[in-house]
Symmetry: C4
Subunit: 431 residues, 4 copies
Amino acid sequence: MEDSKEKIILNVGGVRYETYSSTLRTFPGTKLCSLTEPHAPSIYDYNPTTKEFFFDRSAEIFSYVLNYYRTKHLHCPMDTCRSVLEEELAFWEINETQLASCCWLKLNNKEVQPEEFHIWDENDQADDQCLIVQTERMDFSWRTRWQPKIWSIFEKPFSSFSAKCLAVVSLLFIIGIVIIFCEETKAQFEFFTANFTFVGHSEVAHNYHEPYYHQAAYLLHLELFCVLWFTFEFSVRFCVCPDKKKFFQNPLNMVDFLSLFPVYIELFVDGQIQKMPSLGLWLGFIRIVYLLKLLKISKLIETPLILRVLSYTLKSILREICILLMILAFETLFFGSLFFYGELLCSNPSYTGELHFTDIFVCFWWALITLTTVGYGDIIPLTSVGQVTAALAAVFGMLTIIIPIPIFLVKFKNYYAIAVFKQKLKRCKNY
Amino acid sequence: MEDSKEKIILNVGGVRYETYSSTLRTFPGTKLCSLTEPHAPSIYDYNPTTKEFFFDRSAEIFSYVLNYYRTKHLHCPMDTCRSVLEEELAFWEINETQLASCCWLKLNNKEVQPEEFHIWDENDQADDQCLIVQTERMDFSWRTRWQPKIWSIFEKPFSSFSAKCLAVVSLLFIIGIVIIFCEETKAQFEFFTANFTFVGHSEVAHNYHEPYYHQAAYLLHLELFCVLWFTFEFSVRFCVCPDKKKFFQNPLNMVDFLSLFPVYIELFVDGQIQKMPSLGLWLGFIRIVYLLKLLKISKLIETPLILRVLSYTLKSILREICILLMILAFETLFFGSLFFYGELLCSNPSYTGELHFTDIFVCFWWALITLTTVGYGDIIPLTSVGQVTAALAAVFGMLTIIIPIPIFLVKFKNYYAIAVFKQKLKRCKNY
Amino acid sequence: MEDSKEKIILNVGGVRYETYSSTLRTFPGTKLCSLTEPHAPSIYDYNPTTKEFFFDRSAEIFSYVLNYYRTKHLHCPMDTCRSVLEEELAFWEINETQLASCCWLKLNNKEVQPEEFHIWDENDQADDQCLIVQTERMDFSWRTRWQPKIWSIFEKPFSSFSAKCLAVVSLLFIIGIVIIFCEETKAQFEFFTANFTFVGHSEVAHNYHEPYYHQAAYLLHLELFCVLWFTFEFSVRFCVCPDKKKFFQNPLNMVDFLSLFPVYIELFVDGQIQKMPSLGLWLGFIRIVYLLKLLKISKLIETPLILRVLSYTLKSILREICILLMILAFETLFFGSLFFYGELLCSNPSYTGELHFTDIFVCFWWALITLTTVGYGDIIPLTSVGQVTAALAAVFGMLTIIIPIPIFLVKFKNYYAIAVFKQKLKRCKNY
Amino acid sequence: MEDSKEKIILNVGGVRYETYSSTLRTFPGTKLCSLTEPHAPSIYDYNPTTKEFFFDRSAEIFSYVLNYYRTKHLHCPMDTCRSVLEEELAFWEINETQLASCCWLKLNNKEVQPEEFHIWDENDQADDQCLIVQTERMDFSWRTRWQPKIWSIFEKPFSSFSAKCLAVVSLLFIIGIVIIFCEETKAQFEFFTANFTFVGHSEVAHNYHEPYYHQAAYLLHLELFCVLWFTFEFSVRFCVCPDKKKFFQNPLNMVDFLSLFPVYIELFVDGQIQKMPSLGLWLGFIRIVYLLKLLKISKLIETPLILRVLSYTLKSILREICILLMILAFETLFFGSLFFYGELLCSNPSYTGELHFTDIFVCFWWALITLTTVGYGDIIPLTSVGQVTAALAAVFGMLTIIIPIPIFLVKFKNYYAIAVFKQKLKRCKNY
Ligand SMILES: [K+]
Ligand SMILES: [K+]
């Protein structure tokens, strides 16, 4: 009894703590327990005058450590950083896993972010570093001197005045080719009307079996002019790019590359169109690649931080979106089938002539259009069972639209907090 | 006066607190009040030299306890865990209900989660434990040795190579039967056209009163082949499953069970179809159960944490969703009736021939399609009153779609925080 | 110099603070400043031995008060409750408005809720208290003894077995009258077809100028039976209700009251229908009030907390919703007018015969249906200008739908936190 | 060894801290390091009796500073305000950039708001201040005395009774002119039918080549009356406005100005309409400006705080909305082109006569209507490829609608917290 009431005074960083020896003996094998052993004063910094053991550690967390001995529950202050806590617990020889679960939550809520810090800014300046590395190889050829300059003129529209001019010229060419594309569709439509609508009247159709652009040759010339510019631009950028492999992995560069083909193919297969009239339409179809060049505008405008976070979030939840699309696909199949049999089984004989579909695939189409609440109204349920199916599909579609919102929000908020923080940190360090 | 000014020194875990005796007498019957009684030094750990009462407790919460005597308001630090607070208050003999309401809020905001901890991971490894229990019964028969292996091959696609192969084979069969289902609908549609559209011309129709698959017998053979595989798979899984009752409670197993029937029924009632042509369609209808087998794909892909939380959240707000569907149903009835009478009362006699409906149920259908903003356009208001009703229905529908979002979000965030925490805890404890 | 370096020791609740006299003189007129005056030791509790001024106050907030003298900025700890801070600042004679704005935010973020505590649970037990008050008037008449019992049987479906039975009976009657209402619409439709479609052929129409229910008299009898029950129920509830004024302010009771009329009116004006055929339809129209009785179901199911919070939130943002509806109305007017003139100005003469509208109100209708993304497709832009207007309307509608979401969410989260807290508090106090 | 074990006692604001000299020597060049130098006692406030260095600073942050010397990691308490921390670190001569990143996050999360404080309330009372400044110029002319009164009568509807009356009169005139506008469209439609549908039959059309309002002259008179009132109101407000430039920058005033023109132009070009019939329609078209006057209602109702925050948020994310509209435009172009070629390439010859479009712009229109899920159903895919395109467009449109929600929410919450805080601050300071 007398022994257990023996007091021990601990001076932790200047703050005096008193406790009973018996309390410290609660967890044998820890540093504090060893203070109760007889030879402790010779090992630790013991002041015989004040009878204090001195430890040059943080007093704040020590109060929680001492409470652990008193109550057998290890808690931690709310504002403790994980690294600080780990260091202190290691000093006092206490296992981190003893931490109560309520405090784990506190620590972890703050820890979500630092883990994801490295992912976020990885691809920020990868290209530049590649270029710098190359420069450091010290081969002072013509190439080494000019490559970075040309690269920055073509790739960084905000870096210099000439880069800005080039960006504007490039933009005008892109807009130009999109306008040309739209104009060409008119010729295509005429070509289609002439060749495909009167099939069977071969003598009439034959007259038109020629490339559509014979009616609008100037369009092909303009298109060729634009594509020549793109060919030049792409060649230069390909030559000066620091990392060929990375260059082709960039989808925007792939689009640039693919958009060179349509015109050259057209010139190449010129003679074949008379034999295969549908080839003309296919040549028009592959020109859709020109539209993808519009995505390059994203490089010409300074995207606000919030949108970069948005696109990063979208990338990170790609898998979840895919699974949700699978759910949508399943609902499409299920409601489509229900609709098909519902209409067949309940249709009044007198209605049958009006059935809007002849195929289950048309029912799938209907189901998707109802689930997405587009509701064209081309296919409409005629029976009560079909109407109930449609009603269910509409309600389920409505709920399915709502599902991805919280996933998106939770992730977005997380990433946005990190991004705002990083931006401030960068700004702080610059000044 | 002199008496009330008498000071008491309290040494709580090394921290010295001074206060007046009169302050401690504020709440009679508590431990601190009893310190002011004459015999207190003999009961408590009193140091006559320093005139201190020593208590081996946390100093942090004691400062709040002492303030309770000074100000009559009991507060607590923000980062206190509930269990810590309860223990300290019990030691100082203070009733927990005295806590100020602002601090209750602090405590409870953190307490939401631990309560729901147990719900979340209940069904994680229930099946396995059942199997382990069985193994521990020590009956080393053939069954006991092989059952867990077969079970894991059939149920855990990621456990071994053979399990993966089996999963792929199973998946192919599922996709196969879905394709067969779609193909069969074509034969069904032909059967329907032949039998149901010319009812009354019995001599023509009679020719077709035979099972539809006579036109596509190979489909039935393929289907039978798939179903035989499913029968085999289901039998094996049923035999080796550790808990038969639980096996049938799993909806996916029920679907597996039900999907065996359609073909066997078809073979069984073969002769009846000539007498009852609609039976052929019903046999097609019950095949929709094949589509539900697609849900088994969810077992073949590793669902990300966020989606498991999502499905758990959806389950937990099922009741709220039901009530919201009831609200939607009420709105449907209300706007449908308004539309019905609005159109009847205001319709111009010359319009009447064009009224899109002949029934109030058609109006209910219209109301639901408008509320969900699908808007097929098959039924359209012709009068101003009807148009106003439609406008109101559209706006109310829009608002009704928004209502479930916050419920969903609040719950989802809560569960997601717990789930992320649990995952980290598990990962921490593994390493 | 010597004077300013003079130290003052403050013992606040046992914690020693040291500072220079000059520091305390920073804010004249406060309690701490007066400590530096010569006669301070005689006023305050001064210990000449230790040269300490003793104050029996919280040490924690005092450290912030002292820092205020040192740095001229008054901050406060994050976890301080407002009431605690106010009390301490009042004691130290410091004006609360000196608090730095960053700390104001901390305090206020937590203070949002307690202010709204009282609104939330106001109408919880108002009715009962009224009854209790009446009971306490001590008039032991027949009325006083039975009133509370009958009241709880009719108003609290979960209070006793007989109350449950009555609730079920009442529910069946409500469902019954809704079914009768739907059935009556069929008779109404026939009555309408007969009377209104051949207007002009008076001799044919005349035959049908009789109340529609002559074709379905049994429906009127059933309806009358239901209404007699409702009359009985309403009379009893009205008689035993503790507060007549409150009883009529409750919209559900108003609906109950109004739903008694249609049948009695029908019987009263029986003879008039032959003279005014549209009266028959109006009598059908006012029966829509029966549907509103379905809202009483909400009293029969125990609404989960989250839904009660939802409805409270909806009530609290009613004003915001109204303003948003006004924005929608403005958009409707604006896009409708644009569409009207767009179509008129750009329409090709050859198209004009196909113009879908003859009125600007039809354009407003179109605009609203497009803004809410319902899109029936009955009115479609035929010119490019009209199509651009429609595209703008669709995009603006899409954005307008999104606008109320954050308002709703922010408010909902706030109220939900309070509601969860209150529920826990109640549960805590019960046990 | 002996040297490094030498202890230093620091008395920071009364709290004693002990540490080893060697610990303080960790970061040379800081104030604490200089304490270990021999001449330190003469520089700093050193008490030879207690061997303490006294610093009159906050003890709380000092414990973190001392831990920085012990562990080499600088952290800070969670509830520290940035300004406090900066001051303390400056005193102890420690560079703020040493702060650990986890604590940076803590500081910054709270710091988001004060930065944006100034933006928020800038334009609150700019107008008034301008007026006050003018008043202070001390020119006591008739103008100076009356200008503020008239201004507040015309601009601040809640300031006085006469202001309220004027607001009501003004509102009635606005509603009046909107009704007149709607009435005029009827005359416009007649004018259009007469003049534009029988083009070619010049003798018939000629009769109607007169201003439309000749059929409804009273409308023009009413309109003129309203416009005269608006002219008067605008003139007065323009005369008494304190800052002419700001007056015209306000879009509501611009609308007021523009809405004066239509009638005067009509009177002016009266004779020209017979020569150019489309002029009549254009005169109707520019009257849409009257509708914009409805926006002035927003000045007549007291907008709740939450809506002002909403509109501020919308303004602040204008750029993000623009970029999202560009994404929508890109999707429109892309899916429109896919649809065009999909339908052309796969269309069955027998279908061709039914192709819903003759132009790629019609396809773009279709794509936008599908993306916004309006889905009129005027243009419908007839081929499988077209249906798949439509399905993709519907799903992408659905996802695009969801994208802006989190941006909106995150910003809104931020601004709302600030706004609520500011309102409370203002209310506190008023009382
Ligand atoms: K729609
Ligand atoms: K639609």
